[in-house]
Symmetry: C2
Subunit: 136 residues, 2 copies
């Protein structure tokens, strides 16, 4: 099962992507926007920073920004940096090994095809289709 930590990280990066160009976002802002426990998010953002996805500005007026354009960050990048590999590539060469590898490739291919720019677009479309239309 995909961990909450990873889900939170994805949401946080999405929030930062949406905010890109508008200065840094504080942990609290991200936490509020995405309903993530702030103290937990703090640790997650530190991880993301260590992995080169975000940069931080300290002190007053500080916060987090994306280290590169949303277009250049893929879901798969975030996931694989936070989750360990989902199967153990042990030294034993049993029958299953090659299948785990193939499954891993299939999974990776899907999440690597989605960058955060396209996620923003997807989100916009979703919002559009879910917003009730009260006009007459």
């Amino acid at each position: 099962m995909i961990s909450k930590k990873c889900l939170y990280a994805l949401k946080a990066v999405l929030a930062l992507a949406r905010h890109q160009g508008a200065g840094p976002m504080t942990i609290q802002q991200i936490a509020d926007a995405q309903e993530i426990p702030a103290r937990f998010l703090e640790a997650i953002l530190r991880d993301l920073k260590q992995n080169g996805f975000t940069e931080s500005i300290r002190g007053k007026e500080g916060g987090y920004i994306l280290a590169r354009p949303a277009r250049d960050i893929r879901m798969g990048d975030i996931i694989s940096s936070l989750e360990g590999p989902w199967y153990a590539p042990g030294p034993e060469t049993d029958v299953f090994a090659s299948i785990w590898e193939e499954a891993d490739r299939a999974l990776t291919e899907v999440v690597n095809q989605v960058d955060f720019q396209s996620l923003l677009k997807r989100e916009d479309k979703l919002r559009f289709s879910h917003t009730p239309d009260y006009s007459i």
Copy 2:
């Protein structure tokens, strides 16, 4: 990460597939063949039975057999019966939901293409290619 329980289950079914037609295999035999803790395997085989993959014969001369031909049992069947879904299909329709679904499909497709008859074949080939050849 794929659980040991699931790995053990796959190995157990593989052992039963190899033994098919030769009467029931005891828990202990399977445990020995696949290096699985016998008491743990016991619980796993009960699960497999409940899910319709194996049948058991009680009493002396008893043991486990596959409930259907190896050809008709796929890796994916075993996995999805033992592991919960690897992502939580919640009611929230966020941007990620459709991607998790796609990833799930990709994964399922891989493991559903492999049945235990073909695993036996693969294993034979592996053995062949790994057996040192001492002839001169």
